[in-house]
Amino acid sequence: MTGWQRASSIAVGLLGLSVWAQLCAPTVFAVASPPSPWIVFTAFVPIFIAGVSLATRSGAGCLLLFPVSMLPALAGIPEVARAALFTPFAMIRLSLALSLYLAATGAWLSGTQTVFGGTSVNQTGQEAGSTYKWFVVSRGLVLLVLLIVPIWAVYLDGTIVATIAMNHPDGEHVAQTFIAMITFFVWSVVAYTQFVVPLLNLEYDRRKIRRKALDSVKKTTLPLVMKRLGIETGVIVFLVVILLIV
């Protein structure tokens, strides 16, 4: 095992530990209301699964079993810790830790060391890494903005907080949590389908688009372009009109 591989294994382990510490540790170390042995057991199960998965380099274990195994412990989390978890800062921190863990583990399992600028990559990998670095970093920052804006709106925007309080007088915090969870779900879908998948297939997509572009140049006619432009403009105008009416 090279130094790079050892360092990446430790980084993945620490990120997994960070996610566990945010989700399960409050259950174990609750001072006000000591948890039952069964709850403590469920809280430590993810650590065991993570250890075995990391040792065997199991993709299903690291990316699926470990995150899912934290759900039972989350169900038994004390009320105080639950309230602390559902705050804007805690949710953003948890989202970041989970996203970083999933991205780093995916890169670690695939062995593509170009993501972190490893030392044992070949020349092609280095060229691709430098070309795509800006693309990946800029999209990562945009993704962060797309997470922060709605969460900020739900919890910190004065107008929206007042609207929620007015429309849900008996359960303001429940409504905020509900909207935040919907927002986070949408963000996760967008992050995976529109950011992670395209970023993983950059070189493949680049070649495919070039090939398609060369083909379509031969077939493209002005009526065809106008027809497509008309349809797309029509769809956008239709949606905006519906939105204005609603």
Partner: protein, 65 residues
């Protein structure tokens, strides 16, 4: 130059989509779930456009190299 134009358009579209997500939250806060869903749909379409513009930037960057 084409790369920069595509890249700028891409990032502008991606950041612009946050406006629709913000509006979606606003609609959800007003219990207007249909409008919220439509706003989310438009936001995702705008993100999609931004991603496509980013892909075009990558293609043109490859051509310029």
């Amino acid at each position: 130059m084409r790369t920069i134009a595509y890249d700028t358009a891409s990032i502008a579209l991606l950041l612009g989509s946050s406006l629709f997500f913000y509006r979606a939250v606003e609609f959800l806060a007003q219990k207007d779930y249909v409008a919220g869903l439509i706003a989310v749909g438009i936001g995702i379409l705008v993100v999609r456009s931004g991603v496509e513009a980013g892909r075009l930037a990558m293609v043109s960057r490859g051509d310029e190299r």
